[in-house]
């Protein structure tokens, strides 16, 4: 009996279980470990604070998506011992494997910034990257009288790097609809030099911020939060006042990665950009937010990765060379408020572009341009996520590698 072990039954781990079970014969036992009972639809955390989604729509039982023939082990992972091809669980149990897939994702680490977990945490300082945080923020915003709202990113990389911008756009839209936009001063504070990481999109998104009267403070490297005076303070001495702070804390890989002694400074797993094999050992692969590959940490990216990783696991089993195919393809809807969204499509070497998607020249979605259709696409993503993505079904017309037709290109500088 051969053993394949998947760590983490979130977006990426669940997809891998669904891809691999039908493709590996009965000689292969597949197990997947996760400590949670609930699978959250994390993209919905963006909408929960504005009462656009109800909590119920964002959670399902984790076992619902684990296919028959795969053992779900509900336990915490303590550490990986690569030399022994073994994983130790928090209850002390040891699991042996022939092939390991790390899919433990990333989570917020608010303790990394001094003062963040001080007296204002969950009173005037909130995150929306966790279910609990997004829900608490919803309750806060429902009765918030207005004032200075600051939307803030601590440091990169973060998962879904456009989400904080989307939050700012949705906040604008929300307060306009409530008839109180004039009582809200909106500021977007970022460690980047502009609205986003990629120049073309930064320009476009920067314009949208100005249009919506959202001030941007860039190159802001947070040192600490001054709770007493309701201020963000950066290493260079810049300060930003807030009444309500919506922050995206530092994102880090799970502590299990640190305990295993295999991660980088942020507990991300060193992984080959193109094959998704880790550099730790040949029989250890990684996917999704847990890796250090320089692609966006997003569900859509995990989806593209899963198609390539499936092929590579099958090749590895057959003793064939791995395909160096992953190109960093990301495809994200960016909600811009007032019932509109734009769509960006990019990879390691290409900037987000203008054009149409998924059909060259036809659409119906427009790249880098606001439209109502894109917003509908973003909302439809929830259905696609639960019904197609997690189950490892191929999404029609959307390829793992980026399609260059029908798009107006510009090469990245890096």
């Amino acid at each position: 009996m051969n053993k394949l072990l998947i760590l983490g039954a979130g977006t990426a781990g669940t997809m891998m279980a669904n891809h691999l079970r039908p493709r590996l014969d009965a000689e292969w036992e597949i197990s997947i470990v996760d400590q949670e009972e609930t699978h959250y639809y994390q993209p919905g955390f963006l909408f929960l604070p504005f009462d656009i989604y109800k909590p119920k729509q964002l959670q399902k039982r984790i076992d619902k998506f684990v296919p028959a023939g795969v053992n779900l082990i509900r336990q915490g992972i303590d550490r990986i011992v690569p030399d022994k091809n073994e994983v130790v669980l928090t209850n002390g149990k040891e699991l042996q494997y022939d092939i390991l897939i790390i899919a433990t994702g990333t989570k917020i680490a608010p303790q990394e910034v001094s003062g963040m977990l001080g007296p204002l945490w969950q009173k005037d300082i909130f995150d929306f990257y966790t279910f609990a945080g997004a829900k608490a923020l919803r309750d806060k915003i429902r009765s918030w009288p207005g004032g200075k709202m600051v939307v803030h990113i601590c440091e990169m990389p973060i998962k879904c790097p456009v989400a904080p911008l989307e939050f700012a756009f949705l906040a604008d839209s929300f307060f306009v609809e409530k008839g109180m936009r004039d009582r809200v001063d909106l500021t977007f504070v970022t460690p980047l030099s502009g609205a986003f990481t990629k120049p073309t999109a930064t320009e476009k998104l920067g314009h949208l911020l100005a249009e919506k009267n959202i001030r941007i403070v860039s190159d802001f490297a947070i040192e600490r939060i001054d709770n007493e005076n309701h201020k963000l303070v950066d290493y260079g001495g810049q300060e930003v006042d807030f009444d309500l702070l919506v922050t995206v804390p530092t994102n880090m890989g799970d502590e299990a990665i640190a305990r295993s002694g295999i991660g980088d400074d942020l507990n991300f797993v060193p992984t080959n950009n193109a094959t998704l094999q880790t550099t730790i050992k040949d029989n250890i692969f990684a996917i999704g937010d847990a890796t250090n590959v320089p692609a966006s940490k997003a569900g859509s990216v995990a989806h593209f990765e899963s198609e390539i990783l499936t092929e590579n696991i099958l090749r590895y089993v057959r003793g064939e060379p791995l395909k160096e195919e992953f190109d960093g393809h990301a495809n994200c809807f960016v909600e811009t408020g007032h019932g509109k969204a734009l769509l960006i499509d990019f990879n390691y070497s290409h900037e987000p572009v203008e054009g149409t998607f998924p059909f060259p020249g036809v659409g119906p979605l427009t790249l880098l341009k606001e439209s109502r259709m894109n917003h509908i696409g973003k909302l439809a993503f929830r259905w696609v996520y639960w019904n197609m993505l997690l189950k490892g079904r191929h999404i029609p017309f959307v390829t793992a590698q980026m399609d260059e037709r029908g798009k107006h290109f510009r090469e990245s500088e890096v």
Binding site: E155, M156, P157, P161, P191, L192, S193, T197, K198, D219, A221, E223, Y235, G236, G237, D265, L266, P294, A295, S296, G328, A330, E413, V414
Partner: protein, 102 residues
């Protein structure tokens, strides 16, 4: 494109970052620092050496990694290279502008 810095012709990109670290000399670093109104001291050069070393080993650079593994604290780094220290120090060091992720 090519640019003359400290009497040498070197290849730079449109933001003035050297595209070939092999062309870098201390005089070039000094001249770029001058453009940024930074007077180089022993401490500054320690940071520059650290950045070049990390770049040669293809290590990704961030404020965090510098604070953790570098010769000075983040706070001191900001004092040495005020306003966008990583970008400025990288330009002086002759390495690419750190791609601060995706």
């Amino acid at each position: 494109m090519d640019k003359e810095i400290a009497g040498m012709i070197v290849a730079v990109n449109d933001e003035g970052y050297l595209t070939n670290l092999e062309q870098w000399t201390k005089e070039i670093g000094e001249a770029i620092a001058g453009e940024e109104n930074i007077a180089m001291t022993e401490q500054h050069w320690k940071v520059i050496e650290f950045l070049q070393h990390a770049h040669r080993n293809s290590e990704a650079l961030s404020i965090r990694s510098l604070g953790k593994h570098g010769p000075v604290s983040i706070k001191e780094f900001y004092v040495l290279f005020p306003g966008g220290p990583l970008k400025k120090a990288s330009r002086i060091a002759g390495i690419p502008k750190p791609a601060s992720c995706v």
